[in-house]
Symmetry: C2
Subunit: 341 residues, 2 copies
């Protein structure tokens, strides 16, 4: 099964470019319900794994010990914009754990939000790792290491207990044995995990419906997904799909983007998990696909559809601010039956 | 014929994403020599058309009248970085034509080069249309309108003589009748032209080998391609493939990128034209494909291959400046025979 066309990019009367991809819709019983392209495709989950990577912060007791509230936990699951609301909170977490920005091993990149980037340049302050979109995740990893009295210098390495605990969580929730999870290096230096797309969707289904999990894990999962849905500004920020989507869903769904065109959603009402991968890795196509999947599943109200229209059909504007085209979803979910497997 | 895989994006042991595309290699006699995917695919040429769009600046006499040197003509073919070297030259062209930045109808976007963007923010100066990557093209269009005593207020509209002259040139060099050229609106507000990929390649072949053109057009074409090859810094700028590629080719080839994954090359020695389109529109894949086409055609020396290695196999670095993957070309040119047409 090869990737299928999922999004058309139109300009004037022509389709100028198109995106292909894969989609898997799974429930917590590991039943594949719907798909597009190849739901078995092995993909790096990238930052869509952050909600799973945050679970040990709660399970080790670090979250309680260092007083993580919903916004702190949500920030630990974030690919944030580097806005003041994000960096001041990361600094506060570091302060409470007795660590500093120098302990963040995520490296530096410019703040994602242009206004935050411009403000930083104007301020003349140095660009530090706190602006890295992953600094919330890294501060959570550091808090866990500190609480467990482990080294805080090499928490990003695969053999460190912080990463080994995360690997166990991922293996548990994706139902992929540890030895079958391919590991690469992520944009921020920590291990990145590759699993079949349907298993990634399964992990979001289990987080959306954690009733089958052991009590301790179930409680940790509920804390994480509740925090994300309650504090969506922390997960992304101004003009970010994750944030605006969770706001529109009013606490019902949690969602997380991953680099190279990955997007995952968990729906607490139906207990399904959705994972998608744009074959070419372009994030511009993810919101259109995610919303079209929900639309075809009948999970969007008219009001939500209207509120999120520009993420469902992203307009293309030129430098003169004229609309000269748009992205539009172009696929139909295939209902999965045993015969089609 | 559908798009074929042209580039793999690897991370660790896995291919994380991939790009599909189309390639056409054509000579000035309109013979299709090699292809990948569908060489007949109709695509918007976008900014790869700029060398053709510059021809009327010479043919109308505007270039001579306003004293355009090689660097000015090269800048008229540019998608430049918005560096000082570009903006001061655009300003000088506007000054000589008695016009100003306010006459540029291209709209505004941040300078492409991050250092230029940061310098602008630090300066506190306003962002104007002169930083738009198309401001050289627009200043050339304005110079032509002024020289021909035409309106300078609506030079960007399809029915203005400036755009009608360009349309005639494009029809002539692509051998596509005017009525068969689909028109959209480009990123900078002017008409953008859609033609089959092989016809776009043909236009670059005719510019590389203009011997079959009428004298006036032949001379104008030679002025443009000579200017681009002689002043590659104007076409792009610091750390730009067009610029570094033409430098490495020492005047033998001229090349131009277009938005949404278009790239075109003309080779003055063999007289061939190459056009490629990345199906998903991602520019990150274009240099790898362009260089691999030249490599398979035996048109790169070992020294050029070495010099351009990081454009041929673009490395992926993370925020910690570690190399964590790379883009690599993954296709074989198909020799075109009548039977395969």
């Amino acid at each position: 099964m090869t990737a299928e066309k999922v999004v058309e990019v139109s300009r004037g009367a022509l389709v100028e470019s198109l995106h292909r991809g894969h989609v898997a819709v799974v429930n917590a019983k590991n039943e594949l319900l719907y798909s597009v392209g190849n739901p078995h495709e092995v993909i790096y989950a990238r930052s869509s794994m952050k909600p799973l990577q945050a679970i040990p912060i709660v399970e080790t007791g670090a979250a309680d010990h260092y007083g993580f509230d919903n916004a702190d936990l949500s920030l630990a699951c974030a690919s944030h914009n580097g806005e003041d609301q994000h960096t001041t909170r990361v600094q506060a977490i570091l302060d409470r754990t007795g660590l500093s920005v120098a302990d963040l091993q995520c490296g530096t990149h410019n703040p994602k939000l242009e206004a935050a980037y411009e403000a930083l340049i104007k301020s003349g302050e140095p660009l530090t790792a706190i602006y890295n979109n992953c600094s919330g995740k890294h501060s959570g990893m550091l808090a866990t290491a500190r609480h467990m009295k482990e080294s805080t210098a090499d928490y990003y390495k695969l053999d460190h207990p912080v990463q080994q605990r995360i690997l166990e969580v991922i293996s548990d929730l994706t139902e992929v044995p540890v030895d079958d999870i391919a590991i690469g290096v992520d944009g921020c230096g920590v291990p990145v995990h590759a699993v079949p797309l349907e298993n990634l969707a399964l992990s979001f289904a289990k987080m959306a419906d954690p009733s089958g999990l052991p009590e301790k894990r179930r409680d940790a999962v509920r804390k994480i997904t509740t925090a994300m849905a309650a504090e969506p500004e922390m997960v992304g920020g101004t003009e970010r799909f994750c944030t605006d989507f969770m706001h529109a869903m009013n606490g019902r769904m949690f969602a997380k983007a991953g680099a190279e065109g990955v997007y995952c959603i968990g729906d607490s009402e139906t207990g399904i998990g959705i994972a998608l991968k744009i074959e070419d890795g372009n994030a511009r196509a993810t919101s259109a696909v995610a919303l079209e999947v929900l639309s075809q599943l009948g999970l969007l109200t008219d009001e939500q559809r209207e509120q999120l229209h520009d993420y469902h059909y992203p307009p293309l504007e030129n430098a003169r601010k004229e609309k000269i085209g748009e992205l539009s979803p172009a696929f139909t979910l295939k209902e999965y039956t045993v015969a089609s497997s």
